[in-house]
């Protein structure tokens, strides 16, 4: 695909008949555990358009991560179908970049070597020089200057998260799946990372499916927020966030429009949590 500096993706003409980037049709997931069957995700319908940023929020254990695993092809739906660009997901979905909740930075590689690993693979190999340039730019973007030669064990948790983010963004996957990527970061750094994520995903016109339990983060970043109810997860509300882009991540949360959205969605989320504790 793209081999050099092109972070920009040409805007495709919005075509009403084009298939959704991601589509879940009555997709449900059950797990067998200790002889019992656990419903992780009730049959849900959800579609994400190309270049759209969709945030999934909900209490823990509501199946948000299961949705990401289904889209990545790490899991198969027990019922229904999961489509990617109109085709059923079969096996690993190589069109997505997946930043899991778990730290999957390779401990034996330095920060810069971790960031560049995707560009070493045969499917998108670039010259050593091009890789070096892009890695340097990415390191700069996530603010890891001075830590290029450090091994993950020498980095803080927040820095490792940034390495993981840079490693996923560097190859500009068509779709980005993120599972609470900034959960472990302090408030200040979280805002910085959200800002960088907005810039990068807008520039590269990526489709993003973003799991979080931070409602403010979801509203600040997403075009649409999907609120999940507790287990068995089902979609409670889908709300379009009509805040104009580019958003000022640092101040957007003080606007009245943001406050209204936050209150509205918080009530949905709160009811869900209360419901969950009763069950």
């Amino acid at each position: 695909m793209r081999t050099d500096s092109a972070l920009q993706r040409p805007p495709s003409a919005t075509n009403a008949s084009a298939p959704a980037r991601i589509e879940l049709r009555g997709a449900a997931k059950r797990f067998a555990a200790h002889g019992a069957e656990i419903q992780a995700l009730s049959a849900i319908d959800l579609s994400v358009q190309p270049h759209e940023f969709v945030a999934l929020v909900g209490p823990s254990g509501c199946g948000k991560s299961t949705v990401l695993n289904l889209v990545a092809g790490l899991l198969n739906p027990s019922e229904g179908a999961v489509l990617y660009s109109g085709k059923p997901v079969a096996g690993l979905n190589r069109s997505v970049g997946y930043m899991t909740q778990k730290d999957t930075v390779l401990p034996w590689r330095t920060a810069e070597s971790n960031v560049g690993i995707a560009l070493e693979l045969k499917c998108r190999r670039v010259t050593a020089q091009a890789r070096k340039d892009r890695v340097a730019r990415m390191i700069d973007l996530v603010g890891l200057n001075g830590f290029e030669k450090h091994f993950p064990a020498e980095l803080s948790g927040g820095m490792r998260k940034r390495v993981a983010l840079a490693r996923t963004l560097i190859y500009e996957p068509e779709t980005l799946l993120m599972d609470e990527p900034f959960g472990a970061l302090d408030a200040q750094l979280k805002l910085l990372m959200q800002d960088q994520l907005q810039t990068l995903t807008q520039m590269a016109r990526m489709t993003v499916l973003f799991v979080t339990h931070d409602l403010a983060e979801a509203i600040a970043l997403a075009d649409r927020v999907v609120v999940f109810s507790p287990r068995p997860g089902r979609i409670r509300t889908v709300r379009t966030v009509d805040l104009p882009r580019p958003r000022d991540i640092f101040n957007v949360r003080f606007s009245t429009a943001f406050a209204r959205l936050h209150e509205e969605l918080w009530n949905e989320l709160k009811d869900g949590i209360a419901l969950g504790t009763n069950v």
């Binding site: 970049g97 997946y98 034996w108 590689r109 995707a118 693979l121 499917c123």
Partner: protein
Amino acid sequence: MTRKTWRPVGGRGLLAWQAVVLLLLFAAWELAARYWDPTWTSSPLRVVERLIDLLKGDLYRHLAVTFGEIAAGVLIGGFLGSITGLWLGASRFLGVLLRPMVVTLYNVPLVTLAPLFIVWFGFGMESKVVLVAISAFFVVFFNAFSGAQKVDQDLLQNLHLMGANRLETFVRVVVPASMAWIVAGLKIALPYALVAATTGEMLAARDGLGSLLAKAAARFDMTGVYSVLLILMLVGMSIANAAVRVENYLLRWRRANG
């Protein structure tokens, strides 16, 4: 009974005491040899004299032969052991299919194979290299196998999602993730390699420390036997020392832990 607490000892004081103990032991040996017949016990001074003779003579050739056999054998056996171990460990089916066969082969005592290899490969270094390689193969195989089985599946999946093929995930995740296990295996393999090489040399060889030892023993030359044993001890120590250095280099990314 009276002392309840042990103070930690170390540093120069400890080293000095160890030197004293060693000197006393050597002195006792020397005195015993002067008091009784030194034919069977030899004596430290005789050993020192012999060591000097050996150093002036062809010790280097024997050292080179033994070291060469160990180096070549460990490299060949370690490489094959790593590759097969990682391969079988990373593939569930192959592991279940072939590991029991490797375990069965491992049950043959290695020394008993020495005559066979001497018949096949002759009196030269080759038969000893094969012996060393086989002993290294098994130790490294089992370690690499465990290492490959314990590779974090999330790391593999992540690289697969990036578009890596099986060879790429093998080279970039399975091998480095198992490196600690392989290096640990090599460290265990080295002393065994010395055993394998010298055993082979004692049975049939013209050169090498083992043949030197066997020839001395055949002549009831106890001074010669002790001298070679002392050299073998030093060889073993230097090999272990080198192994630690190699380990520290290969696994330098782990040093930050702690």
